[in-house]
């Protein structure tokens, strides 16, 4: 085994350097490196793995031959969203997040990785502008993880252990939140009006109490609905001494009000729409924002990058503030954990927001709402199909019901797939009260032709 292996990724495995290193280290057999490991647990024989593919060309051919079996949303006309959405990705976003200097950086502090920290400070700043709050942390794993952390931050700051969430929340989000919060808090659902999908404020008032640490809702909600009572919800929460935690799709914030401006204490959300490809869900990344309140800052689990003056006159640098907050320092005293998350997508979001600008974000939001309204209108004209199900404004997603066609969503989607269309997410298991309903997603990538094609296909397959 000491003969070495010539491999393009492992320079010192080659025979000559290996011999040189072994001589310096004073060993004749590499097994001597592992003298600390008792023999009885050592692996006998080689790992049972496929033989290596030596040439890059053949490796590439091998992996490509497998990946070619996928049908992507370039092959399919996609109308599925539900937490991960197909938006336009500017080329500059991919250019920047593909840069090796960023892509292969990791634990460097701001003196070695100044540019990375500046890019992330800019991401924090631009998200702060969108949500109307002064404190934004480095990215979390996803929106769900951000929501998990934020509702418990609210509970710790208030010394309470009860969280209210609307019944229209995504069941998967709810599962993630229940799993995370269960050692320290309970989650209770607030009823929503079946006609409008909006939170039932009477039920909220009845359930909010001196135990409630957080009232969490999403804007727009999982079912696409814009919660028009958002300011009232924040008032009710505040009156009870609870914190208002709002989850947002940030791409909507060119047209929707900054949650910080209608009373949100904490805002969380999903960065993926901001210039990140879907990557089958690998494109997700969350964020947590709050007011600049010392007690609340102390509860942030993420790294918080602060700007600071540098020694050179007029220059500035960055540092990670109050590391003692984080699980890296607190260890067994931790109330949350942090680690490698999705910072690359934070940098990408900064690039995206710098490119799109205030006018672009407004146009984008307005255009999405026009397209989705048009799509709902077209679909609603199909016999037996109702769209949108809820009598409320919506952003890019809306619920379509097929009950009166006699068809299941599963059957409709199968037929759509044969026509090269990825239909809306089937809600019939998640929300049985909605019957055979699906969640459709329309974004700026859909032109009139594509929406009309969907409507035509739906008409055919639901007849």
């Amino acid at each position: 085994m000491s003969d070495g292996l010539v491999h393009p990724y492992i320079p010192n495995a080659a025979p000559a350097p290996r011999r040189r290193l072994m001589k310096e280290v004073g060993i004749r057999d590499l097994a001597a490196l592992y003298d600390s490991i008792p023999n009885d647990i050592k692996l006998k024989g080689p790992l049972k793995l496929p033989t290596r593919i030596e040439s890059e060309h053949e490796l590439r051919k091998h992996v490509e031959s497998i990946l070619a079996k996928n049908k992507s949303c370039q092959d399919l006309l996609n109308f599925r969203g539900a937490g991960c959405w197909q938006h336009f990705v500017p080329a500059v976003c991919d250019e920047i997040n593909g840069r090796g200097e960023f892509l292969t950086s990791y634990g460097g502090f701001p003196y070695s990785d100044h540019g990375k920290y500046q890019a992330l400070f800019e991401y924090q700043s631009l998200i702060g502008e969108l949500v109307g709050l002064e404190v934004v942390g480095t990215p979390t794993y996803d929106w769900g993880a951000a929501a998990d952390s934020a509702v418990l931050m609210a509970c710790r700051v208030t010394g309470r252990d009860h969280v209210l969430v609307p019944a229209t929340a995504s069941p998967e989000r709810l599962e993630q939140m229940r799993g995370f919060t269960k050692p320290v808090a309970t989650i209770e659902l607030v009823r929503c009006d079946p006609k409008t999908g909006l939170m039932d404020l009477a039920d909220l008032k009845a359930k909010v109490s001196e135990c409630t640490g957080a009232v969490y809702f999403e804007q727009p909600g999982y079912l696409g609905i814009i919660e028009t009572q958002a300011p009232e919800i924040a008032k009710i929460a505040k009156a009870a001494g609870a914190k208002t935690v709002v989850g947002v799709d940030p791409i909507s914030l060119g047209v929707l009000e900054s949650p910080g401006d209608y009373g949100a204490d904490l805002v969380v959300g999903e960065l993926q729409p901001l210039g990140v490809h879907m990557y089958g869900g690998g494109g997700v990344a969350g964020f947590i924002a709050s007011r600049d309140d010392e007690a609340m800052v102390a509860e942030h689990p993420s790294f918080l990058i602060s700007i600071s003056p540098a020694a050179d006159q007029g220059q500035f640098g960055f540092g990670v503030s109050t590391m003692e907050r984080t699980s890296y320092d607190k260890r067994h005293d931790s109330t949350d954990y942090y680690g490698t998350t999705q910072w690359l997508w934070g940098i990408t979001a900064a690039v995206y927001l710098s490119l799109i600008g205030p006018r672009g974000l407004a146009e984008l939001g307005e255009g999405i709402m026009q397209r989705s309204a048009y799509a709902a209108g077209r679909i609603n004209r199909i016999k037996g199909v109702t769209a949108p199900v809820h009598a409320s404004p919506f952003f890019k997603e809306f619920v379509v019901n097929f009950d009166r066609t006699g068809k299941t969503v599963a059957a409709v989607n199968r037929a759509l797939k044969r026509r090269g269309i990825l239909g809306g997410k089937d809600l019939s298991m998640e929300f049985p009260t909605l019957g055979q309903s699906a969640l459709y997603c329309i974004t700026e990538i859909h032109g009139k032709d594509e929406i009309d094609a969907l409507a035509a296909a739906l008409k055919e397959v639901s007849a």
């Binding site: 600390s36 949303c73 320092d329």
Partner: protein
């Protein structure tokens, strides 16, 4: 061939904040226009929103043309010491070469334009890779099943804590088993994650050989023990030889053992978690398995378990009937989801390609070379003035990383390991890692060279340390006031922790600057 390291200077663009670069009226990208017929049919939809939720004033985003945005972020990228451009031997991070071909494979529609909720028959390629990679990970680890859902080592560790909790709950012992053991030199997440999952965490302290002695483990174990979560070797690079006995002790007390394989790079093909008796484990695909660290993410923890825990595994479980791959439907016993969707699948594809490019011999060569490089560095570093190697009573070889101490240097010069860190940047290498908490070693530093560097690069790194130590003895101020040739000069490090000064956004900065 050696580099004149003293002539290095990092790019210093003095690049303004992008918020200060705005030029009203300019645009970087223009979104697709709404078709006139749609606009005519529906009118101004956003305009009809109720006042309370309609945005009144546009967000203060920069207004810039495209070349200026590109240039700004390219300049920022140039002021970042990624592993592609220089030596990064930061301990506990397993920095290695991230093959470029992997990026080319995933940065295409067949990976990046997949929607996570596509039907199984449209994502056969990705399911095949996940299925086959699970088999590979079982072979590498000796475990029975894997999920790739967790987004980082810390999240994988958290998942392991939740799996252990579920295991005990399912046996009606959830209320009784309230304590989790870990070790002081395991990653902080091995203590933090079980605490978040509701456990009281007991940290085992190292004995004179640098790791917890069996006696200390025995004393900590009780009927309340839920399990043990630890690395081995720990972050010190010291392998706990008593590991099998410790695992057996925890098992006899009814607990489960989770192996944090964050330090597994030197162990590939040498010793497996499963053969050591562990019930759960997690590998960092963005470290050990070559996927790039992504400026702190897109990570992936491959969480592996033995059969007794497999039913509780979260995330998609892929099945294959000989013809088609499919995601197993509802799994009632699984723990609550920890992350959304399929996980960072791009990271899984890269890890798969990496294993395919190595095979069994290559995997072992990775491990052996990483440990050999580390021990070669040790020979150089042990000769450096003011540097000591903790736990001299432990005569066994250190593993893929090694924790050293500059306690003597500090006593003799007043220069700390922290000072040395910043000075390293002046010579054009990424600074080293000190130590995770608790900092039981005085003036610690931790070096993990991995398998991707040449002998010259290893030598250069040690030579840079030697020069800085010379400076510490002869010209300590130059070290104390460093960095000098980095992208930025010394910042006010007190301000960032002061509530009156800290600013996490531009708007916060403007408010505080205005007084």
């Amino acid at each position: 061939m050696t580099r004149a390291v003293e002539l290095f200077h990092a790019a210093r663009w003095n690049e303004p904040l992008i918020m200060d670069m705005t030029s009203p009226g300019e645009r970087g990208v223009i979104p697709p226009a709404v078709d006139a017929a749609i606009a005519k049919a529906v009118g101004d939809v956003a305009g009809s929103l109720p006042a309370g939720v309609r945005r009144n004033s546009p967000p203060k985003l920069p207004e810039m043309s495209q070349p200026q945005v590109l240039r700004h972020y390219l300049r920022l990228s140039q002021m970042c010491m990624g592993a592609d451009v220089t030596s990064d031997m930061m301990g506990t991070c397993t920095i290695k070469y991230s093959p470029k071909v992997h990026e080319h494979l995933v940065r295409q529609p067949w990976v990046w334009d997949l929607h996570p909720l596509q039907d199984d028959d449209t994502i056969q390629g990705i399911l095949e890779i996940m299925y086959n990679f699970e088999r590979m990970m079982c072979a590498i680890s000796g475990m029975d099943a894997f999920t790739f859902e967790a987004g980082s080592g810390a999240q994988g560790i958290y998942a392991n804590a939740c799996l252990i909790r579920k295991y005990h709950e399912s046996r009606g012992e959830g209320d009784r088993r309230t304590e989790m053991l870990t070790t002081a030199f395991s990653h902080p997440a091995d203590a933090a994650a079980p605490a978040v999952a509701g456990y009281r965490v007991i940290t085992l302290m190292p004995g004179e050989r640098g790791y917890p002695e069996v006696g200390a483990v025995k004393a900590a174990i009780s009927e309340r023990t839920a399990g043990l979560m630890m690395t081995n070797p720990e972050d010190t690079g010291i392998y706990n030889r008593d590991i099998k006995e410790i695992v057996d002790l925890v098992h006899r007390a009814g607990g489960l053992c989770a192996y944090d394989q964050a330090n597994g790079n030197g162990m590939l093909g040498i010793v497996r978690a499963g053969d050591t008796g562990f019930d759960l484990c997690q590998f960092n695909l963005h470290k050990t398995f070559s996927a790039p660290h992504g400026a702190v993410g897109q990570g992936c923890a491959a969480v592996g378990v033995k059969k007794a825990v497999a039913a509780y595994l979260f995330g998609p479980v892929i099945e294959f009937d000989g013809k088609r791959y499919r995601i197993k439907g509802e799994r009632r016993e699984a723990i609550e989801r920890i992350r959304s969707f399929l996980g960072n699948i791009q990271t899984v594809v890269k890890a798969y390609a990496w294993v395919m490019s190595l095979g069994p011999e290559g995997m072992k060569a990775v491990a052996e070379t990483a440990v050999l490089n580390s021990n070669y560095m040790l020979e150089g570093i042990r000769k450096l003035r003011g540097v000591t190697i903790p736990w001299p009573k432990n005569k066994y070889r250190r593993m893929e990383q090694i924790r050293y101490s500059m306690e003597k240097l500090h006593a003799e010069t007043g220069i700390t390991a922290h000072d040395v860190m910043w000075r390293m940047i002046d010579y054009g290498v990424q600074h080293f890692m000190l130590s995770h908490h608790p900092m039981l070693v005085a003036e610690p530093f931790t070096i993990e060279p991995g398998e991707s560097y040449t002998v010259d690069e290893l030598d250069e790194y040690v030579e840079i340390l030697r020069r800085i130590i010379d400076e510490a003895y002869n010209d300590p101020d130059v070290v104390k006031t460093s960095p000098h040739r980095a992208s930025v000069t010394k910042i006010d490090e007190v301000a960032i922790d002061d509530p009156k000064c800290w600013a996490f956004t531009h708007r916060g900065f403007l408010r505080k600057s205005a007084g």
